[in-house]
């Protein structure tokens, strides 16, 4: 049976179909699923397209930010309130990809893709899920990513997070071999809130350093309560690889990713990246 396309109006209807049909997948911008069809990796099943406007909602003006899962990278780049997310959004493909690539799709992009998700992870984002026949529920993004490999996560309607306090509080670095557009060797996002000159509540996330974007909790522990000086950065670099499981692929070997991660983490923390 070939791939079918179903267009449904509401999120709940789509969530119910996803729960009852294991071959159904939600179609976002199509940069992953249509590619899978073109390459012959997806030959049967159902693509669900929902026209629910909730997916395109953006609430960016206040301290709490909510972005619909259907918001595209181009929409993020066009929003001045989201300037701290412009670097990860700009890192997703060329302009013609960014007009279709969605936040929701990026949450499910296999490594080494998913750079925007890495940024959201460092912002301690939560996702609003519609799973099965129940209502919506909120889940930490980290937990959703841990469940992702098992499948059946449900339908992600939106992501929410607190706006970073200052312009220099949130930093993002994508390392690629091709500029300005290329697949990640790795990416690093760092949220570094400070209280009295000391870091409080640091969040560091890596992309392409594991099966899904992951938190660098050892680095976060090193940074907690310290000022961001040379000694702290050196300690963070020493802890950089803890918990990572990079893969070897066409972009870089596992060895290379391990070698360069501490170097780039040090540069990001020192503010030496452009």
């Amino acid at each position: 049976m070939p791939v079918n396309v179903r267009i449904v109006q509401g999120l709940q209807e789509a969530a119910e179909i996803l729960a009852s049909d294991r071959g159904a997948q939600l179609l976002g911008g199509g940069t992953l699923l249509v590619r899978a069809i073109n390459e012959g990796f997806m030959t049967e099943g159902t693509l669900l397209r929902t026209l629910d406007p909730v997916l395109l909602a953006m609430n960016t003006g206040g301290a709490r930010v909510e972005l619909g899962a259907g918001v595209t990278m181009a929409m993020v780049l066009a929003n001045r309130d989201l300037s701290y997310l412009h670097a990860p959004a700009r890192g997703i493909g060329g302009p013609a990809v960014r007009t279709t690539a969605t936040i929701g799709g990026n949450l499910f992009a296999a490594t080494p893709y998913g750079d925007f998700t890495t940024a959201l992870l460092a912002l301690d984002a939560v996702v609003t899920l519609h799973a099965g026949f129940g209502g919506a529920r909120v889940m930490p993004l980290e937990e959703m990513l841990a469940n992702r490999a098992r499948g059946g996560v449900g339908l992600v309607a939106s992501v929410g997070f607190n706006r970073p306090a200052g312009a220099d509080t949130f930093r993002f670095l994508k390392v690629a071999r091709v500029r300005p557009k290329g697949v990640s060797v790795l990416s690093i996002a760092a949220h570094l809130p400070q209280n009295g000159g000391r870091i409080s509540g640091a969040r560091i996330a890596y992309g392409a350093m594991g099966p899904a974007p992951l938190r660098a909790k050892a680095v976060e522990r090193v940074l907690e309560g310290r000022s961001l000086d040379a000694a702290t950065i050196a300690a963070a670099k020493t802890a950089a690889l803890e918990g990572t499981q990079p893969a070897t692929d066409a972009i870089a070997s596992e060895w290379y990713r391990r070698e360069v991660l501490p170097v780039h983490l040090g540069r990001l923390l020192a503010g030496e990246t452009s």
Partner: protein, 160 residues
């Protein structure tokens, strides 16, 4: 699976077609409507030769399902020239030798048009960013960048 009716505007003309549910816009435009300007390259969203404009935004025809284009306005490189008069971008590409084999040219033109429609006076960096999703294996990109900057300058001069 039954084919689905789709209607959209293609280069200013209303068109109606029946498309397979997973048929891409590129296939519909080329096979269904006979506009062979957008090309099939990688089918992965990497090369940009299938770039078209959907409601003025650059899109990859190979990754866009036709059924998602209902009621939209599609532009391809075929719609750039006004009869025998070339679009300023086409003229600049010719003038500055920005095409060799020509396979990437329709995608480059549409990526450049999307930029100039939004930003009539781009910097070189903005031009490079605008064509970052389009691969050219012949020119080394420099003549293309020069041509796009020249077209912007010419359009600006015509407006002044």
């Amino acid at each position: 699976m039954a084919r689905m009716p789709v209607q959209f505007r293609l280069n200013g003309s209303d068109r109606a077609v029946f498309a397979e549910p997973t048929e891409t816009l590129l296939v519909t435009i080329r096979r269904g409507l006979g506009d062979f300007a957008p090309k099939f390259g990688c089918g992965q969203g990497t090369c940009g030769v299938c770039t078209v404009l959907v409601d003025g935004e650059p899109r990859l025809g190979c990754l866009t399902l036709s059924v998602t284009c209902e009621g939209r306005s599609i532009e391809t490189a075929s719609g750039l020239a006004d009869g025998p008069t070339l679009h300023p971008l086409q003229a600049a590409f010719m003038e500055h030798f920005a095409a060799q084999c020509g396979f990437c040219t329709p995608g480059m033109l549409m990526a450049a048009k999307a930029l100039l429609d939004r930003n009539p006076n781009p910097t070189r960096v903005e031009v490079v960013e605008a064509i970052a999703g389009n691969i050219c294996r012949c020119t080394g990109y420099e003549p293309i960048i020069i041509a796009i900057l020249a077209a912007a300058q010419q359009r600006g001069a015509r407006r002044a």
